[in-house]
Every structure is written in C-alpha cells, then in structure tokens.
Symmetry: C2
Subunit: 250 residues, 2 copies
C-alpha cells in the first residue's frame, strides 16, 4: 500500500475538525485488563482456569452479541448489558458453576471493561491530538463505561460519544454518520482513528478520513489480524504520538 503524498495529507488535515477513536484495542489494552480482573475473581472464588483464555472467550462473543441490534431485531441495548450476558454465557461454556456467587460480584467483574489501562502512548498522544481538533471516542462501549474508563486512566476526551449516543453499533453506517451529525460536521471533517481495518473501512464508506494505528499485541503474542494497513488509509502511524507529529507537521 502506498502512503498518501504529504500534500494530500496536509490538505486533509486542514479540513479535520474532530478525531474519533475506536477504544477497545486502539486506546486501551482490553485483554490484559480483563485477564487481570478475571484472575482476581478466579482466586477469590477458588476457580481454576486460564484468565487470558477466559478473556478471549468473553471477547469472542462481542461482535455476535451486537448483531441482532445492528439488524434491527433487538432494540438498542447498552454494552454493559451485552457484556454481562456474554459473561454468563462464557461461564456456562467453560462449565464454571457460579450459582453460589452473588449478582453484585458478577456485576463487579463485568465492570472490568470500565477499568482497562491505556497503551503506553495513549494519554500523551491524546493530549497532543486534542490541541489539533476535538477528540472523542467513537466506541461501541456505553457512555458510563467510557466515562469511568477515562476518569480512571486520565484520557482527556473533549466529550464521550459512541454507540449509545447514536443508538447504533459500529460498523453500522449510522454509528459514524450520526456521530458526525452531533458534531455539526460533514464526514470528511472527521478523522476515524482505529487499530482495526474493518472499522476504518466502514468509516471511509460514509466519507470520513481514516488513520490506522497498529496494535500488534491487542490479542496477545500470537496475533494474526490487523497487523498492517490493508487499504491506503489517509494516515498510518506507529502510535498516537507519532500520529500527532504527522498531523501537526512537527
């Protein structure tokens, strides 16, 4: 894939008024964070098992659980609810009995997704990018999840957007289109930043600019997907700090 010329990139940058970020995998390391909380839960309740494998199984249900909502066969339901359903299904799949565990403790584990740590460059990179444009998450996470995460990890968002604000899950086109509309912007004035080619593909399809940031350890040491840019995205950078440098020309 050829990177776009500097002139074209600078022309795009002058148009960009908002940068919208995928969060799980792009801004934060969900796998390590969820496995950490699963480990605590397993220890507390005397459960044997591989916490990383459990985290992978829990996350593997993520896309499918949103599909009925994208198709319109289930009303919009926030991600905290879907995460909890997926958590119970993961316990069942792995034949882990949880009958004796209080619902409040399951809720607490479910909120592991509110307590994920950012990648090492995320906070500084976002702070730099925030000087160039309005920055907000465009995540499938619900508002409370993203707010708690930001407060704990000091992510300097200008506002919290995402699926709940527009009642549509990525990659449904409404999720991108309605987010631009909230910001009073045309799609080409928005830059979608993600570690996932599919997310950028959907954002580009409705006219947004695109930036790919590879996160080759999102899925752990054996990751095989999203290692490289699969289209000629408008920007490709090694991390958020490099993206800020590229966009500011400094």
């Amino acid at each position: 894939m050829t990177a776009p010329g500097k002139e074209k990139r600078l022309q795009h940058m002058t148009e960009i008024k908002a940068m919208l970020f995928d969060v799980f995998g792009t801004v934060v390391d969900w796998r390590t964070g969820v496995a950490r909380e699963v480990t605590t839960f397993f220890t507390l309740h005397g459960i044997a098992g591989d916490a990383h494998a459990f985290a992978d199984d829990w996350r593997a249900r993520y896309q499918d659980s949103m599909e009925p909502i994208r198709r319109g066969s289930r009303p919009f339901t926030r991600l905290d609810v879907l995460h909890r359903e997926n958590l119970l299904a993961t316990f069942a799949q792995r034949k882990i009995p949880i009958g004796g565990i209080e619902g409040g403790e399951i809720d607490e584990l479910n909120r592991a997704w509110h307590r994920l740590d950012p990648w090492p460059d995320s906070v500084e990179g976002l702070a730099r990018l925030r000087e160039l444009a309005l920055i907000a998450p465009l995540s499938n996470g619900n508002i409370l999840l993203l707010t708690n995460m930001a407060k704990r990890a000091h992510l300097p968002w200008d506002c919290i957007l995402g699926a709940e604000a527009v009642q549509a899950y990525k990659p449904h086109p409404d999720s991108y289109r309605k987010t631009a509309d909230i910001l009073g912007l045309a799609p080409q004035q928005c830059l979608m930043v993600a570690a996932h080619n599919g997310d950028l593909h959907a954002a580009r399809a409705i006219g947004m600019r695109t930036a790919f940031i590879p996160r080759p350890r999102e899925h752990g040491p054996g990751q095989t997907t999203d290692l490289v840019a699969e289209q000629d995205w408008d920007f490709v950078a090694g991390d958020f700090i490099a993206l800020a440098k590229q966009l500011s020309g400094r």
Copy 2:
C-alpha cells in the same frame, strides 16, 4: 427555609455518585457572553441597538421554543437549531434587517452560546467537585455546544450529558430519569446542581438530590427571580467552591 442537618447532609453525600449541573446561568454567564458577541455583530454590520436587551429578548424565547418538543408535537431538535430560529425571530421582532448578511455570519453569531465564560468560581469548583463524584452537565444545550464551551473554558466534565443525550428537554421528567439511567444510578445517587429553583423542583420530583447555588447576576443588575432557595434543598451554597467544601466536609 431550614438547612438540613449536618448528619442528613453527610448521609446524602455518601450516596451521591454523580453530580449533574445546569449550565446556562449556573456554570456560565450567558447574558454577558451573548451581549459581547451581539455587540461585535452589531458593530460589524452597522446595527444600532442595546446588545444586552437583544440578548434578553433572544433568551426570552428559549423556554417556549422547547415546549412543542416537551409536549411531543415536534420531534427532538437540538438547541443550536432552536437558538437559530429564536435568533431570526429576535431580529424580526426588533425590526433589524438582515437580508444582506450571509447565513454563515448568522451561524457564527448563533454559536455565541458555545463561547460563554464561566462564573469566577466555576472551573476551580468543578475541579474540586470532580474529586468527589462523576460530574457532567445536565443542560438543555446540545452536545456540540457543551463540548465547545467546555474546551474553550476548561470545564473539567467527566462526560457531556444533557437533553440531546436523552432526547428530552428539562424540566420533562425523562431528562432527569434517563440521565440517571445512562449512569447506571438510582435518582437518589444523583445530585442536581442549579441556580434555578424550578430545575431543582423537577429533579427532586423524580428522586434526585438537590443543590441550589444562587447566581444573582444571571439576568443582570435588576434580577428578581431565583435569588434565594425556595424549598429546603439538600444543599445550599454560595458558589461551587463552597459546595465542594460543604460536600467534602473540608
């Protein structure tokens, strides 16, 4: 009105997980800010007139313009749109011809509401309150308006909530109830902070805690409304810094 006992107040405080703020008048001084931008616009276009009186007339249309939406006879429409309709109506009312002025310049004046200055205590007070609970606007302002305002004025919100997020204008009960729901909280875990007795009345009616902060210059030197607490609100404080001290017991 009797202030609640210290014990009752502290008991309430331990329950409060989120503080929700009215914005126009409570956090920012809309009248001075709008008059400042009207003055600039009048000067630029050679219009004679009292900018503060114009600001008052523009704002006087605010409540009525939301009424059809509260009643359900108009679909939810964000405040930027209502503000612009009200602006054109104010020009007409005052017989100010604007036929020769470009739409973009009207839009720019309309965005005066995005560029309002906070009261002197607001930024420091919010920073202190943010250490005690999640803080967010629960304003009739739309998300972009509140986001631009926060970025310019350094208001340290944890997230931007309000009418647009819940598609309901205060004081409709849905605006309060659905905001608590987004935060995963019962109403009594939320503290509504406002300079307006009516706002607190509606918040209390659905079970929220209430804090009154008088802003006796919101409407200029001749203000006659909302000078004092008209019910026994849970908390009454002179400004946000005093509220933070009261809530933290420090």
